[in-house]
Symmetry: C2
Subunit: 155 residues, 2 copies
């Protein structure tokens, strides 16, 4: 493979490294701040956002895994840990073969309601405020372009 | 806190969600591809990149944790698992109180050399190719702006 590898140019490498550092550092910092204020980790927060946005706060574990681009087994383990903390419950569904559901509990709704203002303040301070409205628009546009490519390229 | 929360506008929320989806999906996809081809996870790859870029392939665990924005305990556990697979060795350093070193092994260097072409091809296909050179430059510039803010805002 090495002979045909299209190695990155310096500019391309710079752009990629910037993105990697951005996502490491921004997600890391945000995660620590939200965890310190609310006790929810970034994945906890992501799961609760997905669940509280759908009717009845209820999704198949498989759908949730797909939405967050996680392996199903990782999501199952994570849901197990969140269930122990009372944030969600797992509902088995043996009749249709499409796997178990996960449902947000009142405690889970309360946890995300408590965490949300801290999360929003952190997002604003660290991501929104440093950029102009024009830059924010370009950033969203570029992100969506890559996301479209990811969809097309789905294995 | 809720009364003073500066909630995101629709445009701001759109930009933020695009970034979150981008990083979830791109890192998720890339991770699965690289793992399937080379057996290295995204964190394994990150650790090996950092180690192979410094003299003697050797860093303090604490420095590595800081560079990747991880908690030190998480990095220690991860290094323990990589050491069991022979990719790195841990060198205790009791005399200066600044903690243990981690050093890449020849097997670790071989693993990243094998993974790198797959990683680069995936980065090119999923991140570089969908964007024009101008967009790539803007993306890097915006990422760096946010990174500067993160540095200034360091707790």
């Amino acid at each position: 493979m090495t002979e045909t590898t299209r190695w990155l140019t310096e500019t391309e490498q710079h752009a990629w490294r910037s993105f990697v550092r951005l996502q490491d550092k921004l997600v890391g910092r945000l995660g620590r701040e939200v965890q310190a204020e609310s006790g929810l980790s970034v994945p906890d927060y992501g799961v609760l956002v997905h669940l509280t946005e759908v009717p009845e706060g209820r999704l198949r574990i498989l759908e949730l895994a797909r939405a967050m681009e996680w392996e199903k087994s990782r999501m199952s383990h994570h849901i197990g840990r969140m269930a122990k903390r009372g944030l969600v419950v797992r509902e088995e569904c043996i009749d249709d073969g499409r796997g178990a559901f996960v449902v947000v509990t009142p405690a889970g709704r309360e946890a995300i309601a408590t965490a949300a203002p801290h999360h929003v303040e952190a997002v604003r301070r660290l991501f929104i405020d440093p950029l102009s409205p024009a830059e924010l628009a370009v950033f969203a546009q570029i992100s969506n372009r890559i996301l479209e490519q990811l969809e097309k390229d789905r294995p």
